[in-house]
């Protein structure tokens, strides 16, 4: 079984600054995906960024980037130039890479991020 741990229940950052959210995971799998999802207040969960474990290059999506350390089983999210709209709950998630149906996500407990003006 996989476990995902987010050690920071809450964080805050000033608008325009950079913040890093931590995530560690435990698995015996060698092929898998890692995700960061964002859940704004009272709104739908959306995918922020995705990393395939076999790729050494860290994924980036505009102001969002990850630091993927496979040996350390660490997957942190960096948000640059933070904006008020980044205020949300952020979830780190793991998915086993499997040819069979049923691509389930295992989630961490979440980090609540507040961006302050």
């Amino acid at each position: 079984a996989q476990t995902v741990t987010q050690s920071q229940p809450e964080m805050s950052v000033q608008e325009a600054e950079t913040v890093t959210l931590s995530c560690t995971y435990d698995t015996s799998e060698s092929n898998y995906y890692l995700f960061w999802y964002k859940q704004p207040p009272s709104r739908q969960m959306i995918l922020v960024i995705r990393q395939e474990a076999y790729k050494q290059q860290n994924a980036t999506e505009n102001r969002f980037s990850v630091n993927f350390q496979k040996a350390a089983k660490s997957f942190s999210l960096k948000i640059s130039d933070s904006q008020l709209g980044d205020t949300a709950m952020y979830f780190c998630a793991f998915m086993k890479r499997d040819n069979n149906a049923g691509n389930m996500l295992t989630f961490g407990g979440g980090t609540r991020l507040m961006v302050k003006p």
Binding site: P9, R43, A101, G102, N103, G108, G109, G110
Partner: protein
């Protein structure tokens, strides 16, 4: 855009009532999921389905059942609601085809309060 629709956003039910949470997706996805979200615990998988009439237990299936009679619809059933089932319930769907990148799409959630 993929749309996952949960028909009830907010429900209040009494202990012992039978509760149905409905979810519909419009992208012909094979996989559908029900998660429960609680503070500090993240999302935990209750059940998932990878085809019509097929279902698999997730991490916390006790007290729940599911139904998938049509590909687009996945229902979560609380046979006899209890106060410890007060929570946010999230439905999700995905295609099983790996070319999609295995992205999972979520509904907006159903807030259930059991009194």
């Amino acid at each position: 855009d993929v749309k996952v629709t949960q028909s009830s956003r907010y429900l209040v039910k009494r202990t012992g009532e039978k509760v149905f949470l409905e979810c519909v997706q419009d992208m012909d996805h094979e996989n559908m999921f029900w998660y429960r979200q609680d503070p500090g615990l993240g999302l935990r998988l209750i059940y998932f389905s990878y085809d019509v009439k097929m279902k698999e237990k997730g991490d916390i299936p006790e007290g729940y059942s599911v139904s998938r009679e049509k590909k687009e619809r996945f229902s979560l059933i609380l046979e006899s609601a209890s106060t410890n089932q007060t929570s946010m319930y999230l439905c999700a769907s995905s295609t099983k085809h790996r070319g999609s990148g295995n992205t999972i799409y979520f509904g907006e959630g159903s807030w259930l309060t059991v009194v």
